[in-house]
């Protein structure tokens, strides 16, 4: 049970009448300590060998069965898994928390490769809504098009679509990079908080609507700016970063990134910089 005690030192927020008490107690979070590396265990992960390769045909499986098979193959040490006949099924390849080469020979439905932390994924087809939602780390490459909410709430990693994406790409994005070779729909970067979005083609209306922070680069036409999204000058750092990322993404070789439009938050609606450090941590 947590104890409640009065905090004697007043912060700016407390002086405004906000939260005059602080919670103390034993945290349930686990923190990595290099001295205890041998004992550190990340639940749900497997040690895999990238040179150990196998194929899995999921044509006659539902998503639960297919995901359980993938997990079993990882537990057996397979580090490269090729999925045959995904045929637009939903929620395939989700919750993978270790390094892995995962290749889909076909298209995925909704919520493909969501909540992953580390794998390198290649989809030789299209993906439906909410691909890679909540991704923490890793790299996901989509060879064709993607549906709406592409990269919703991702926190890290590189998410690449070589074709076009639907509406609300990068909604609630908290980190990482989303790179799109084609066009993007309305509300791209809606309420994004951190990270970068790169659209080489055109974008729809309300770009960056209500964004808190982060950066959006657009190569083509912009339908309209959303609330509190503003254009900002390109810097040398932006250009260097874009060149490096597009090379990694294997797209946009012929794009002159210096001519792209850079869009950031105007910080009229939200401004992290005005928050107390403790509040900033909580907000993020």
């Amino acid at each position: 049970m947590a104890n409640l005690k009065t905090n004697q030192k007043k912060t700016k927020a407390q002086s405004m009448g906000l939260h005059t008490e602080v919670l103390t107690g034993k945290t349930q979070q686990k923190f990595f300590n290099p001295d205890e590396a041998e004992n550190f265990f990340y639940w749900g992960t497997h040690d895999v060998d990238f040179n150990k390769r196998t194929e899995l045909d999921v044509k006659d499986m539902d998503c639960k069965e297919a995901n359980e098979k993938i997990d079993k193959l990882m537990s057996e040490g397979y580090g490269t898994i090729v999925i045959k006949n995904p045929q637009g099924k939903h929620s395939l390849g989700v919750g993978i928390l270790n390094k892995l080469n995962l290749i889909f020979e076909g298209s995925l439905g909704y919520f493909g490769v969501g909540s992953i932390d580390g794998p390198i994924v290649r989809v030789n087809g299209r993906v439906g809504w909410s691909c890679a939602e909540n991704m923490m780390a890793g790299k996901v490459v989509i060879e064709k098009n993607a549906g709406s909410c592409f990269g919703a709430a991702i926190r890290g990693g590189d998410l690449i679509c070589k074709g076009s994406v639907g509406a609300r790409t990068g909604i609630d994005q908290k980190g990482g990079s989303i790179i799109v070779g084609g066009d993007a729909g309305a509300f791209t970067g809606f309420m994004m908080q951190r990270g970068r979005i790169v659209i080489l083609g055109d974008v729809g209306i309300n770009l960056g609507d209500s964004m808190y922070d982060g950066t959006i680069y657009v190569g083509g036409k912009i339908g309209s700016f959303g609330s509190d999204a503003v254009e900002s000058p390109m810097t040398k750092n932006d250009i260097d970063w874009l060149k490096r990322k597009l090379k990694v993404a294997e797209i946009g070789n012929d794009v002159d990134v210096s001519k792209m439009t850079k869009v950031v938050a105007g910080k009229k609606l939200w401004n992290y910089d005005a928050l107390e450090p403790t509040e900033k941590k909580g907000a993020i």
Partner: protein, 313 residues
Amino acid sequence: MCGIAGLIHRGKSSNVGEELQSMLQALKHRGPDSTGYALYADNDGQNFILRFKVGENVGEGSTSVNEDESVYNERKKLVDKKLSELGATIVKEEKLTPYSFRYEIKYTQDLMEFSKAIEAIESVEILSIGKSLELIKDLGDATAVSERYGLGKLKGTHGIGHARMATESGVDIKSAHPFWGYPFADVSVVHNGQLTNYWNNRRVLENKGMRFMSECDSELIAVFLAEKMRNGATLEEGMKESLTGLDGVFTYFVATKDSLGMAKDTMAAKPLVLYESDDLVAMGSEEIAIRSILPQEIDTYDPFDGEVKVWQI
């Protein structure tokens, strides 16, 4: 959330009944309450196909009031009598369920007056009138409805369908999709989404003489488009006007005797996946609907916000 599916074969006919059944069955998880089909069949085009119901399916899951089957027969007799008074000739009649009928009729007068007269009979609703359109809707999933009405062997060029999860109105046939574009022959609509200015639009349209049979917000789309077309707009023009005239979130399909169209609201809040080739267009709320008839690797995409497309057969 509901699931919608549609397909059009260009330049040939196919087994659209079976194909649409597969697509809708793949979307069953989006709407298990009722399923509807609007199929454009290879009819000879000589007579009108009149599909109507004289009562509701009061089976498991229905929110309708139970009625004795004898009242259905009485209402059917009243329909036959009214058809005769209107000068319509029944060429062929089929009783599909105790409450649902399919007639082939000869009729040459105004369809709006015709429809008003038939629907003036208590609990009688015309599901569709057309020379190609076969509109079937009932409680149950796609397979159950298809088997009940023998749709598996129906051949035609195109069709649209709907798997419904009842949210804003009852589990009954009158609220099920597709909706006929009263009073236009061969026009049908299916919709996934919610319309927030339903009552405002309904009041305006009713004052203009248009009719609503349910309190399902989706019916507004059919009536909205029908009213635009009645005033001379093309189907595509009417659909483009709907993007601003209808408020809310929607993806809908509309079909006529020789075309199929889709429209998506300006926020792209409802899903749609589309496959397009020279001889076939197939689309649905989820890609698995398309995969159920095209399992091979194909290129599909999501139409963008505010997009309207119309294809001809």
